[in-house]
Every structure is written in C-alpha cells, then in structure tokens.
C-alpha cells in the first residue's frame, strides 16, 4: 500500500488512540471548571516530572522487546539511593546526585538480570517484565523493610519504623524537595518553568537521537526488526537486548529521582508500583505502538495523558457528583489505552502476516498458471 493512498479509515486506525484521547480530554475541560492557566501550569510541572521516565521506554521498543514493564526495577534502585541520601542527610541537588550514584550500580545489576530473564522469554517480554517487576518488588520490600536498620546500619533514626528496623511507609524528602527544579526556576509569561529539569530532559533527547545513529543503536534496530536476520549478520542479539534493557533501567532510575524530587515525598513501598503503567500509557497515548516510538510520541503522550489526569477528577465530581468516578475513570482510560494499543498492534501484525501469506499463495498460483500456459 503506498503512503499516498491512505484512506481516512486507515489514518484513523493508526491514530485512533490519540484521537479518542484528544476528544475525551477536550470534552472534559469545561465540566472540570479549571482555568486554562492552571491546566497549563500543571502541564509544565508534569512535563518536567514525567518525561524522563517515559523516554526510558524508547530503547527496548527499538530493540523489539515491547514496552518495558520492568522499568520499575530502575525506579526501585533510585528509591534505594534516595533512602540513603536522606539517611546520610545529603541535601539539595547534591543529594540527588548522591542518590543517583548509589542507585546506578543497582540499576545496572537489576537491568542485567532483567535482560537475562527476557532473553529466556523471547516473544513474551512484556508479560514477563510485568511479573519480574512484581518479583523484584518482593525482594525490594525484603531489603527495605527487614534489612535496613537491622543488617544495614542506618544513621537517621527518624526514617526508621518504631519497631527498630525497616524504613517508614512515607519518607519526607524535604531535604531534596524540588532541588533540581528550583536551581533555576524561570518565570515565563506568568508560568513557573523548571529550566534545569527541562534542559536535562532535552539533553537526554539529544542522547537518544545520537545513540540511534551509533553502531549499537543500529544493531538494536536490526535486532528489533528480525532477530534471526540480525544473528545471521553477526550482531550479538542477546547481548544487544541486555544492553537495551540496562540503559532503560538506568534511565528509569534517574527518571524516578526526577519524579520524586518534584513530588517531595516517597511512598517507600508503592511509589514504584505504577511507574511503568503511567509511562507506558503516556507513550501509547502519544501515538507510539509496541514496535514504533519516537521522541515526539513521548511529549505528545505526556501532555495528553496528564491533561486528562488533571481534569478528570473534577469533571467526575461535577458531572457525577463524585470525585471517585473521575479517579476511576482516569485509571480505566489509562489501562484501557494500553489494552487498546496492544490489541490494535497484535491485530495489525496478524493481518500483515495473513496478507503476506496470501500474497505468497497468490504469487505461487499465478506462477503455476504461467508455466502451464507455456507447456
């Protein structure tokens, strides 16, 4: 099918998720009763807060491993770093760097494990990643709830549970709160813009664009296209996949730090639960699929998803008389979007296989006829 001949229907099916989302969000703005200025300010904040995490999903998608639902492994590594930063009372942005330094080796290690596991589950990386995140969550809890303060000495008694060991359920991150955002907060047309955070995100985008052009980046694309062909071409498939996941996990670690410094407190045992859910929903809302994603998808997605997250609780309150309706609605939409894009993708790839098969069959039949004519 040539790109010119795209009908309205195929165009819609390609951007179905984006269009549906746009319609719902725009429709919900007026019932929410929020001012446009408030919405835009919130969006700028959330863009800084979430984009980094969403970008962490890109490389595994390039490598054909689908959405990395195991990215919360990186988030957990970042949280462990933060706990130590608070424990050692390293304040300000230095605290974040400290947390990153501690989180980094953990993230690399977890990413390596994740890559190994996913190589054993080729073809079902997504569901495996999802379960792996649960599994590592168990180990994280064991570590933070039982080891910290008993086996691992902690200096700051105020973050320890009253029973003497284990970290409190919520950790106040007062010492590092918005330390990155406020290094240079610019007033731009009445809006507060966290310049440094946005610059870091921009630098990451540049890195991703550059990385795609390197040998390793090209290898990843090749592996993503067809593992067998890549293997035949001499690309170390399994190693490339592991590297993609390690980078994704490390980025998720840094992303979680940016996310948490903006939030200002850490729900020790469930801050990472929904990291992959929000990130995956965002990139899919932005028009990405399981195999194709780009940097614009990230930003479109973050803006659209969070615009809806901002307006839906109040819209629900005003339309149905219950804020919970809006709260459930936005979760429903988030999960629904992931389900819908997975379905659309699987459906399309099946159709593509079917088409190519029938092409083959048609071709063979035609060839047979020609030969028959000649004889």
């Amino acid at each position: 099918m040539s790109p010119k001949k795209k009908s309205a229907a195929t165009l819609f099916s390609e951007y179905a998720v984006v269009i549906i989302f746009l319609v719902i969000t725009v429709a919900a703005i007026s019932p929410s009763g929020l001012s446009l200025k408030y919405i835009i300010q919130e969006l700028i904040t959330r863009l800084g807060r979430n984009s980094f995490l969403v970008i962490a999903l890109l490389l595994p998608i390039y490598s054909g491993m689908g959405l990395n639902f195991a990215m919360s492994l990186g988030a957990m590594a970042g949280q462990i770093g933060l706990i130590f930063a608070v424990d050692w009372s390293v304040a300000g942005w230095q605290g974040l760097v400290f947390a990153l330094l501690i989180g980094l080796p953990i993230a690399v290690f977890l990413g390596w494990i994740c890559g190994k596991v996913m190589n054993k589950a080729k073809g079902r990386e997504m569901v495996t990643g999802y379960i792996l995140a649960f599994f590592i969550n168990g180990i994280y809890q064991f570590f933070v709830l039982y080891m910290m303060g008993s086996v691992i000495p902690m200096r700051n008694a105020s973050i320890i549970l009253s029973r003497g060991y284990g970290i409190r359920n919520t950790l106040n991150l007062e010492s590092v709160r918005q330390s990155l955002d406020t290094i240079f907060m610019m007033k731009l047309g009445g809006f507060d813009v966290p310049v440094v955070t946005l610059i870091i995100i921009a630098l990451l985008c540049v890195f991703i664009v550059w990385f795609k052009k390197t040998k390793l980046g090209q290898d990843m694309r090749a592996v993503g296209q067809d593992m067998a062909v890549a293997e035949a071409a001499g690309i170390p498939v399994e190693k490339t996949r592991i590297v993609a996941i390690i980078i994704s996990t490390v980025l998720a670690c840094a992303g979680q730090l940016i996310f948490l410094q903006n939030m200002g407190n850490l729900a020790t045992y469930n801050a990472h639960d929904q990291t992959s859910f929000f990130a995956a929903a965002a990139i899919l809302v932005g028009g990405a699929s399981v195999t194709h994603a780009s940097i614009p998808n990230v930003f479109i997605g973050v803006i659209l998803l969070h615009a809806m997250f901002i307006v839906s609780p109040l819209a629900g309150q005003n339309l149905f008389g219950s804020a919970m309706v809006g709260e459930y609605f936005r979760q429903f939409i988030g999960y629904g979007v992931i389900a819908l894009s997975l379905v659309l993708y699987a459906w399309k790839s099946r159709k593509a296989i079917f088409n190519s098969r029938s092409d083959l069959r048609g071709g063979a039949a035609a060839k047979g006829k020609d030969e028959g004519g000649q004889a």
Binding site: V117, F134, Q141, F329, Q331
Partner: protein, 347 residues
Amino acid sequence: MRNLKTFIQEFGWPRIIIFLFLVSLFVLAPFVGVRLDASFSDVLNRFGQYAILVLALVPMIQSGCGLNFGLALGIVAGLLGATISLQLELRGFWGFFGAIAFATPFSVIFGYFYGKLLNKVKGEEMTIAMYVGFSFVMLMCIMWLVLPFNNPTMVWGYAGKGLRTTITVEGYWLKILNEFLAIKIGRFFVFPTGLLLFVGACAFGMWVFLRTRIGTAMTAVGSNPDFARASGVSADKMRTTSVVLSTFLGAVGIIVYQQSFGFIQLYTAPSPMVFPAVAAILIGGASVNKASMINVLVGTFLFQGLLTMTPSVINSILQTDMSEVIRIIVSNGMILYALTRKVKVSK
C-alpha cells in the same frame, strides 16, 4: 537413579523446594507452639476457598490461550451475581445458587466478547488479557458507584448510594458450603465437607468435560492447531468456548470464595486476586500450555498451605511478619519460572 533425575527435571526445582519448605513448616509448627490441627483446618478451608478460581485457568491453558491473566472478568461477573443475590435478599442455598445463576449470563457475555478479542490477538494473549482485565475492573469501579443497588447492608450509610468496598454476606449465605455436613473433631479442627465436595464435583466435572468430544477438540486446538484444523475443528470457536468456560468458573470461584471468606470485595479487589491463582496452578506443575486436575489440586494445596503456614510459623520463630514478602516472592517467582521455561510442546 535416572528415574529420580527425570522426575526432578519434569517436576522442576522450584516446586520441590516449595514442597520441602511446606513440609518443614508443618514439622516445625508444634515446636514453636502452633497447633497442627488448627493449621490443617485452615489449610483445608483456604484450599477449598481458592480451588475453583485455580480450576478456572485450566480450559484456557488447554486451548492454547495461555495463563488467563484476565480472570478478573470472571471475578467481576461473580461479584455482579453476588450483589444481585444480596439485593434480592436471597438467603441460604437459594442465595448461594442464586448468585451463581445471576452471574452466569454476565460471565457468558463477558467471556464471549473477551474470547472473540483474544482470537484476534493470538500470540499476545497474556499481556493483553492482563490489561483488558485491569481496565474492565476500573470500568466496573465506576459501575459499583452508579448502579442502582439500595439494600442498606450494601450501600454507603451516609450517601445512601454507591456500594461499599466490602460487603458482608453474614445473614445471607455465610459459610453455606463450609458448614454443610461439616465434621468437627476436637476444638480446633473442622473438616469443611460441603466446600470440598463442591470443589471435588467441579474438578470432576472438568475432568469429564476434558474427555468429551468438545474437551478433546479444545485440547487438540491448544497442542496442535494445524492438526486440529485438518480434522475439522474450528480453532476460534474452541478457544472462545474455553474462554467462556474459564470466565464462568471464575465467577463461580469468587462466589465460593466469598461464602467462605465472609465478604464480597468490590472495586479494585478483583485485579490482585488473579495472580495467586496463576501462581497456584504453576506450583502444581502446570506449564503455560498444559494443565491437569492434579496440577490444580496439588498446586492450590501447596500454595495455600504455604500462605497459611508461613505467617504463623515464621512469625513465631523470627517474631516478625514476613509472610507478605514471602508470598510476593514465591508467587511471582513461580510465574516467572513458568514464563521463562522453554516450551516443549511446539505451538
């Protein structure tokens, strides 16, 4: 010696470790002051409570749809049945079987469309099933708030509408199966005859079903779709049937669970109920594409035994509650193990 080796290979190390761990828990129990009879009673209870939810996974595994991470749909159908039964103030066996009867049409409808959807996405069923389940549970959260239920035991007291997050079935059909013909031995041991009879009947029904014409065709579709097609079996139809059956059993399973547990849990409760069921059948020796009644019964017993025994025994030894962490690691570790194993039967 070789026999032992192949047995271990087939059964898998994780299962053996879990089995030995459970045995050691039972051995240790009396020494740390945990009553064995009470523990056995608990294990049997919880075994019956969960067994049908685990059984619900069998048809879809057999038909090649993989682990039904979308079991939440069946659970929601069961919740609808249970809430309608309570709304109509049905009591006793009427209430229990009424709940199943009301849940049936919902489960068939949900299962039918869910099955149709899964037929369109062959090969990606598990991830999609998970997210379809999640989003449906969220949609139903809104429904629980706005559906016109008005039995005062079910709705929020101050608003007079919107269902509570947990609704007690006390006074309706609490422990209706558990106490049917229950045998009491001593002060602490109760044998839940009715519950286990019901579970046994369901498992036997499934065993018989898998040996009927439809059941065999279903298994054929799962183990060799091309062969099945060659012998005139419609793969899509069989898969849809298996999904409907799985969803229906999910509905029955949650109602059985509720009558024993005592509460109907609404809103986001169905989503996390799926993973323990999946873990249980895998611990019992099932793989992503093969499951038997033995897997269901052994798996549920081992997993629930573990969940019952670890809090009481480990807590007595270590003076701390690590059961939750152990549960998370064991159940997800087991699913992970099954997902990463090389599939022997080619699809």
